[in-house]
Structures are given as C-alpha cells and as structure tokens.
C-alpha cells in the first residue's frame, strides 16, 4: 500500500503543477502587471494623460491665432532616442490624438504625416480614372486639408550606473509648430519615469 502511494506521488505532484497559473488576464496598470527596466504600458498612459492635459490647459488652441476650431494638425516625426528598440510610439500618440479630437479643438490630417495615415483619400480620387466608377461621386481635386499645426515628438533617455545599481530615466518631449511661419507655439514634456535595478539583473 505504501509502495503504491509512493509511486503515485510524482503523478499527484505533476497534476498539481498543471493546475497552477498559466495565462491569466490582469489589470494592465495593477499590482500584478510586470515592471520592466524600460517604459511599461501604464506609464505610457500616464505620459499621454499628462501631456494632453498640458496641451489643453495651455490654451494655445484657443487663441484664435490658427483659425477657427477645429484646427488642422498633423503628426510629424517621432524620434526614439532611448535604449528601447521597439518603443510603441503609436500607443503614445493615440491617446493624445483621441483627446484633442474629442475636445473639438483639433482635427488630424490623415493624408500625410508620420502617424494615423490613411491613403484612402488619395485612392478615392484615383477612381476618377477608372471607368467602372461613377465620376460624379469622386471628390474633386484640391479639396484635401493642409495642416496648420504639426506635432513633433522625442522620447529621451538617460542611464546612470552606481556600484551595484543602474537606473534608466525616460521622458517624452513634444512641441507644436505653426507650419505657416515655422515657429513653435507650444512645447512640453512628460513627468520622468525612473527605473532602478541591480546590475546584471535585466536582459533585453
């Protein structure tokens, strides 16, 4: 009897192991979320909330200087100057774009720019050359909007090393340019995100 129990023990143990956590859905910003030495999802969301707030509260979109609202904007270059080779810049920009659009103060051009592009405006006009389509439904040339303001982004990073620990600090810098005169009309940055870790504990 004891021998049988002893032989069954590995089976019982492996069954218990199979029932332990495999994949589990978690709150992306909660306590169970993974903390990396880089920038995590909830931190990107914090950045976008803060930057949006700063843009809207500065009032530069409400001066009337750039025409009536909604003011046309375009996303310019996004420069990743960090150690993160795959920084999700689209995640950074989507909240900001959505917020400014919802505010009614800005509208994004999708025919050109570095984010949120949609070639369908251009493709639709090419249908005028295709005899299959009703030309009267094809939009006229010369109607697409030109952005008055351009949003440029840099993601910056510094690295510090102590005797036992290292630290990465990340920050987002953004500025808005008036494309008519080439002047910056707003500039701001996020709060820094700093991560401290033991040397050798992090591998990419």
């Amino acid at each position: 009897m004891k021998r049988k129990l002893f032989l069954l023990l590995p089976l019982l143990l492996s069954t218990a192991a199979c029932q332990s956590e495999g994949v589990k859905r978690i709150d992306p910003g909660g306590d169970e979320a993974v903390t990396s030495a880089g920038v995590d999802f909830n931190e990107i969301i914090e950045w976008t909330d803060a930057l949006t707030q700063r843009m809207l509260s500065s009032g530069f979109l409400d001066t009337g200087e750039f025409g009536t609202q909604p003011i046309r904007m375009v996303v310019s270059d996004i420069e990743n100057k960090t150690d993160l080779s795959h920084f999700p810049s689209e995640l950074l920009l989507t909240n900001i774009r959505t917020s400014l659009l919802q505010s009614g103060k800005a509208r994004w051009v999708s025919t050109y720019g570095e984010d949120g592009r949609d070639d369908m405006t251009r493709d639709t006009r090419e249908l005028a050359d295709d005899p299959m389509f009703d030309k009267s439904q094809v939009p006229e040339q010369g109607k697409a909007s030109v952005a008055r303001l351009s949003l440029r982004t840099q993601i910056l990073w510094t690295h510090s090393q102590g005797t036992q620990d290292s630290q990465n600090t990340y920050i987002v810098r953004m500025w808005v340019t008036d494309t008519v005169v080439g002047e910056v009309v707003w500039e701001g940055q996020s709060n820094p995100i700093a991560k401290k870790f033991e040397k050798g504990s992090v591998s990419w």
Partner: protein, 136 residues
Amino acid sequence: MITRLTLCSLLALGCLSCESTSNYEPPRAGALEESQWRQRINLSPDLEHVLEIDEVLETRQHGLLRVQIDLRNITAEEQTLRTSIEWFDVSGFKLDSPNSGWMSHIVQPDEKFVVDAGAVNTAAVSWRMNVNPWSR
C-alpha cells in the same frame, strides 16, 4: 479722560478684529464644499488613515471641466498610490475618455501633492476620482 478711554477701547477692538481677519483665508474661487466633493472621491478603505483631502477646486477652462484635488500623506512613511478620474455628462452617463487612466504617485511623509485633471470632452459636467494603494 472718558474720551481717551473710549478711543483706546475702540482702538483695541479694532486691533482685535484686524488680528482675527488676518488669520481668515477666504475659500479660493472654484473651491467645493466638503459636502460636494466627499461623494465624488472614492478613497480605498486602506487609505482612509493615510491620506487627507485638503481642498478641491473645480473650474471650466477653455470650455473644458478641470478639477484639482489637494491631498496630503498624513503618515510617517512613503506612500505609493494611484488615482484615476472618470467624467460624466449632464445625464450622469460616463463619458468615454482617453485620459481616464491611472496616474501613479510616490508621496513622502507629510507631503502635500496635487491631482490635477481636465476633461477632454466639453460634455463633461461632473467627475469622480478613485484612489487606490499601489505597489510596483
């Protein structure tokens, strides 16, 4: 003699009243009464003896609702917590808002800090703030 006494009394009374008004701080424009903000701040039970809410300001800036909550860590320890703000329209329906994400705060003992948020939707007329402990 009586006139001097009367004058001195009046002067003394004036000084007393000056002293009491110099300590008086009128509420800031946009400050909400506690009865107004108490039901809008959903503080985790774990934080009831950790945080104190000093003042809540509400205003409309450039057509958008903006709120600022002044809090203080009333403990002798560093606290990590997170806050989120939800926005509601005139019918009480929650507005889908990209900036309703959690913001994290690392607060030192006895430190005052500010949660400052603005709605992105002009339909927002009220708000609710959630405050939870956070360990990362």
